[in-house]
């Protein structure tokens, strides 16, 4: 059964299953125009998935699969993660390395800008990118993809990390984590120091459900269980100063229905788009806190 899903930059779909295998389909490759779609529909033979590898041992379910540049795959499981590379010359997949972790992989971030930043800071010029992996044990790890090695960054939360986001923050790299207990924290990946913490308040449902860092690294936006969005400015440590919070947390009611924010993403370095559990979609100008519009069940409101 399908337990994880991602789409690679080449259009291939990678699917992780409950038995530790990763499958690849190039369903998209031949469907680039209307005729191709028709041809695909008229073909009675359904497209098939091709197994890349038994990526994890002992039928360990794949919790995260992430397609990386260079034909690499990051595959996370219950207590480990492995990196695989597609050796085109050999026609198969080879394991690059294995990371022993303290819990299940719940999020893996390999942002392009962050890769460049982290590569410059932590690896030799000829090595491959780093990423940040968070686990169900609440810890965060800096992972070097090329060698399959990991360095513990921080015990980010006492409980599961629900999701995370990584971005360059001035001259540094910041990690935003959000725990299942509703707490959001921001970390300086260079020092492992905590920059920001937003407490959960179970009684008022203002729990953090998503934490994302703005593309320019100047703000952290937090989606909440009550449909709100919190925005806080974060300094990038210019001039050697430690990163820190700038100004108060501004809280905007992005989803008046009160449904929890389940997805948050920045649009082209501009506003923040959030999706709530009730299906409402809001676009918020995080610079001013004003809403551009709200979409709910097919109506512009």
């Amino acid at each position: 059964m399908c337990t994880s899903l991602c789409v690679g930059s080449d259009g291939s779909v990678y699917v992780g299953d409950s038995r530790g295998s990763v499958w690849r389909s190039s369903l998209q490759t031949g469907v680039n125009n209307a005729n191709d779609v028709i041809n695909a529909k008229s073909n009675s033979t359904p497209p098939s998935l091709v197994k890349c590898a038994d990526a994890l041992p002992d039928n360990e379910a794949v919790t995260i699969v992430n397609a990386l540049p260079g034909g690499r795959l990051f595959v996370g499981g219950a207590r480990r993660a492995r990196v695989w590379i597609n050796e085109l010359a050999a026609g198969g997949w080879e394991e690059v390395g294995e990371l022993e972790l303290d819990g299940a992989v719940v999020a893996a971030n390999f942002d392009a800008s962050t890769r460049a930043n982290l590569r410059a800071k932590h690896t030799s010029p000829d090595t491959e990118p780093w990423g940040v992996v968070t686990t169900s044990a609440g810890s965060a790890w800096l992972v070097e993809i090329a060698t399959g090695t990991a360095r513990a960054l921080a015990q980010a939360h006492p409980l599961d990390v629900a999701n995370s986001s990584v971005k360059s923050l001035g001259s540094r790299v910041a990690l935003a984590t959000c725990s299942v207990d509703g707490t959001a924290r921001v970390w300086d990946c260079d020092s492992g120091a905590k920059v920001l913490e937003v407490h959960a308040d179970a009684s008022t449902r203002t729990r953090a459900t998503r934490a994302v860092i703005a593309p320019d690294g100047t703000k952290v936006c937090i989606g909440c269980g009550d449909g709100g969005v919190g925005v806080v400015g974060v300094g990038g440590g210019v001039g050697g100063a430690a990163p820190g919070v700038q100004g108060p947390v501004r809280h905007a009611k992005a989803h008046p229905s009160g449904a929890a924010v389940v997805h948050a993403v920045f649009l082209n370095h501009g506003p923040l788009l959030t999706v709530a559990a009730d299906g409402s979609v809001a676009v918020t100008n995080v610079a001013s806190g004003a809403f551009l519009f709200i979409f709910f069940n097919g109506q512009l409101v």
């Binding site: 490759t29 680039n32 919790t63 649009l267």
Partner: protein, 125 residues
């Protein structure tokens, strides 16, 4: 530095209210790249029972573009209630897996509102 949202919250009610669908909430979402020219953004909303696709042109319009509700099928359930992802090479193609698909992966064309194919991971077909 510690902050608390409840102390700084200034909620502004712009929407008169709506009953959240607690029986079948959105569990995952994916946002496409903006279309060249129009700037249209496609947002897929994955629920356990169905997939919805929303078309948004920021500041101009938004509409429910299409929905896909598979006939509940037997077989294994996915670990997550639902998941979705937009193709990065072909606009309008979204991949969806949920309990309703029995763990199968559905390739759905949101622009044509039709299923392109369904792939069973277990069998590879």
């Amino acid at each position: 530095m510690t902050s608390c949202l409840t102390l700084t919250a200034t909620a502004e009610q712009l929407f008169p209210g709506g009953k959240a669908d607690t029986d079948d909430p959105v569990v995952a979402a994916s946002v496409s790249e903006p279309a060249i020219g129009s700037g249209e953004i496609l947002v897929s909303l994955a629920r356990s029972s169905m997939l919805q696709c929303v078309s948004i042109v920021p500041g101009v319009k938004s509409e429910l573009k299409c929905s896909f509700k598979p006939t509940p099928r037997g077989g294994s359930y996915v670990t997550a209630p639902g998941m979705c992802a937009w193709s990065e090479t072909t606009r309008g193609i979204v991949y969806y897996a949920s309990r309703a698909t029995g763990g199968r992966v559905v390739q759905f064309d949101a622009l044509k509102s039709e299923v392109v194919c369904i792939v069973d991971v277990g069998t590879g077909r």
